[in-house]
């Protein structure tokens, strides 16, 4: 493996200049830099660039923007910051009637539903009874003999 292949990425050198490299990466990079003829000049260039940035002149506008901005906000009628509308929290007593109504509706629905089902069962159950109309002794007729009716469950 050549020394260049072992070299860290340029971003590691850049982060070292910025003091944004954590340990142990920093220690490893320092050790590498001590003997690397490729990385050391790159690091030196990055450092020089940083020094040059440090020499950039302070730029001042000479203008008080606070007055200008305030004047523009006032003159243009820029609306006042509108706070986000917070969702109103409902109290328990505000939701209780609705909840109660809902619960009653459900209960009533369940009751009526079950009553309907029961009714359908009642109408389905006497199928045998309806067929009894075709028997020898129709319903309501008098039994000619007790035994004849007994056999039919009357």
């Amino acid at each position: 493996m050549s020394p260049a292949e072992k070299c860290p990425k340029t971003e590691a050198l850049s982060a070292l200049v910025d003091d944004e490299l954590g340990e142990p990466a920093r220690a490893a990079l320092d050790a590498h830099l001590a003997g690397c003829a490729i990385c050391a000049p790159v690091l030196a260039e990055f450092r020089q660039l940083r020094d040059t940035f440090g020499g950039l002149p302070e730029l001042a506008s000479g203008v008080d923007f606070s007055l200008l901005v305030d004047h523009r906000i006032a003159a243009a009628g820029v609306p006042k910051p509108q706070p986000k509308r917070q969702q109103r929290r409902l109290r328990w007593w505000q939701v209780a009637p609705a909840a109660l109504g809902g619960a009653l509706s459900l209960s009533l629905g369940a009751y009526l539903g079950s009553a309907l089902m029961l009714g359908s069962q009642l109408t389905a159950q006497p199928a045998a009874l309806q067929m009894a109309a075709f028997t020898a002794i129709p319903p309501g007729a008098l039994c000619p003999a007790l035994q004849a009716c007994k056999s039919m469950g009357r």
Binding site: K9, T10, E11, L13, S14, A15, D18, E20, E45, F46, L49, R50, T52, F53, G54, G55, L56, P57, E58, L59, A60, S61, V63, D64, F65, S66, L67, L68, V69, D70, R72, I73, A74, V78, P79, K80, P81, Q82, P83, K84
Partner: protein, 184 residues
């Protein structure tokens, strides 16, 4: 009554409630940095003057969205940066006018020769910066001039720490290359 050297957050809360004086205090605190950033991004004093005001007005309107977890400075720079990028897109500027020559480099030491050399380096850096791609220029300015941490830069530019790290390295390499081309 708030102390004028108190933390930004207190002033922001008051400004959020519509207190224009509190907002003026925030403008006073950050105007130099915002103007400086916009000037270096756009390369024009006139544009920087306009856009600094525009950025602060946008900030005033966006105040309800500010959350106490966010540092006001990075939040404001995010607005300023977007304002700069919008302006660059609007004007379709590819190359920027170099910074005015009226800005002189500060004294760099007693040695006149070294002083001249430093002054020359600074001027060349300014000229090279104008030739840099906007995404490289913005990240370098935030780091080298505004001295923001990677985390803060990430918040301003909406980038992860890893992307900040790699983009900064690329920006430095690009600037050195441009700088090298101009170097005598």
């Amino acid at each position: 009554m708030l102390a004028s050297d108190g933390p930004d957050d207190d002033w922001v809360r008051r400004a959020q409630a519509g207190d224009r004086k509190a907002f003026s205090e925030l403008v006073r605190r950050h105007q130099t940095q915002v103007y400086r950033y916009l000037l270096r991004m756009l390369g024009s004093h006139e544009d920087a003057l306009d856009l600094t005001q525009e950025a602060f007005i946008k900030a005033w309107q966006a105040l309800p969205q500010w959350q106490p977890e966010a540092q006001f400075r990075t939040w404001l720079f995010r607005i300023a940066n977007n304002t700069a990028l919008d302006a660059l897109r609007r004007r379709k500027l590819v190359e920027f006018v170099p910074l005015e020559d009226s800005f002189d480099a500060p004294d760099s030491g007693p040695d006149p020769e070294r002083q001249v050399q430093a002054s020359q380096e600074v001027r060349q850096l300014e000229a090279s910066l104008t030739k840099l791609a906007p995404e490289h220029r913005q990240i370098l300015l935030l780091r080298e001039v505004e001295e923001m941490s990677y985390e803060e830069i990430g918040r301003v530019l909406a980038l992860s720490d890893g992307t900040v790290k790699s983009r900064l390295a690329r920006a430095r390499a690009a600037l050195i290359e441009i700088h090298g081309r101009r170097w005598p």
